[in-house]
Symmetry: C2
Subunit: 226 residues, 2 copies
DNA sequence: CAATTGACTCGTATGCTGTACGATGAGATG
DNA sequence: CATCTCATCGTACAGCATACGAGTCAATTG
């Protein structure tokens, strides 16, 4: 990722400077924190190298000392947001379903707090925090007795469910203002799409419930495989 | 979408022109076809309004007569690619599982032929072809006896599985060249991520099998809900 | 026939974007 | 003092979407 920056930690220069700098020196940590802030506040399109540098009180090109390109910033911001505090203790040890549910709901909640993360995840590098979560998930399933031959399919299916549910919600969670318009637009299509219309597929906003029900489908399916 | 273009179909001008035009006149159909071509050939980043116009032998700004903005082009290209020929006949009528499997595998195959479509789908408008597929899916499930209260969750879960599996495959299907590098990179992480390493989660390239197995999980879960 | 209208095309210009390159300076080391 | 490395940043460039207005024609109208 960052190429030029020397191997890990070095003594920081105290940086008195002639024109006195009122900002602390740049660092990967500061850059990533500012990037997350901008992404949260303005979305993916709102993060540009210029705005990022402005926010840090630095010149645009100074960023490129610490980072190879904008992709690095996105990779780092994404993985930073997906830090996992570690497997929870208060869960009943033998209850694999509860463990999976807790892991995935925590995961989903984290991504919903940073809606850009779901859309960013495919196509970006898998950082250590993401791998860590996959590892934990695989471990739970494996210990629960899922056969090795089924393990990858199980992991990916659960992963897809979390990603998909998060992305879907971000895409279709109409703001209250748009809601009336969406309602009307869909009503006009009622004749062509009667089932969708009747089930209010695109208007139902119980995303948490939908996520949970789908997860239960998968877990029920898994339960027959042990 | 297209704003200025008058209400639907009008007589086309034969367009002889003084400096003889060797290209047919622009039309939404030509624009969409060219956009799909560029997307297939160069990916999302390869589609720019300039290149699209060049390919059509037209000036860049001419496109904006037929289309409001680039988003329109993407919406139209996406929905064009997801056209559905209609429910297949040769399927056993009563076998809802086979119907769902056929519908979703056809869907997935279509998106894999145009890998950009999966990454584009969230965030873009739901065109008529997409809605049509959702309607068919909902109909099958409803007729199969899925309760209305469960219907939305079932539809979204299956939708997420198709989208997720397609996006996941596009993200992690390393080219043969990268494969050795990826292999080595992951081996180095083997100590930290033993389960992932053992299951070869990121190296397994049986995407079709993974998709099918995950789909069976969901369908098994659904089968208990009727 | 002449004048007008409307459909369509496109050149130019604006303000963004990521980033290549090279100049600049500070602190450490010789 | 001379060099070297770390770090910062101004300028420049190519490419992007698109606003605006001028241009060209065919069909319509008087």
């Amino acid at each position: 990722m960052a190429a030029k920056r020397s191997g890990a930690l070095k003594k920081r220069s105290p940086r008195p400077a002639q024109e006195p700098r009122n900002e602390p020196p740049l660092s990967l940590e500061r850059i990533v924190a500012a990037a997350v802030y901008l992404l949260d506040a303005e979305g993916v399109a709102g993060l540009t190298m210029r705005r990022l540098a402005d926010r840090l009180g630095a010149g645009t090109m100074s960023l490129y000392w610490h980072v190879d390109n904008k992709g690095d910033v996105l990779d780092l911001a994404l993985d930073a947001v997906l830090e996992y505090p570690g497997p929870p203790q208060p869960v009943v040890p033998g209850d694999w379903r509860a463990e999976v549910v807790h892991l995935l709901e925590h995961w989903r909640a984290g991504m919903l707090r940073h809606p850009w993360s779901a859309s960013l995840l495919p196509g970006r590098a898998l950082g250590p925090n993401i791998l860590n979560r996959l590892e934990l998930l695989g471990g739970i399933l494996s210990r629960a007795g899922v056969a090795d031959a089924e393990l990858n399919a199980a992991i990916w299916s659960l992963w897809n469910h979390v990603m998909g549910a998060t992305v879907t919600r971000a895409s279709f969670d109409f703001s209250e203002d748009d809601r009336a318009a969406a309602q009307q637009r869909l009503a006009r299509l009622g004749e062509r799409y009667p089932t969708i219309e009747r089930s209010r597929l695109l208007l139902d906003d119980d995303w948490d419930g939908t996520f949970r029900k789908g997860l239960d489908l998968l877990l029920d399916g898994l339960a027959t495989r042990r």
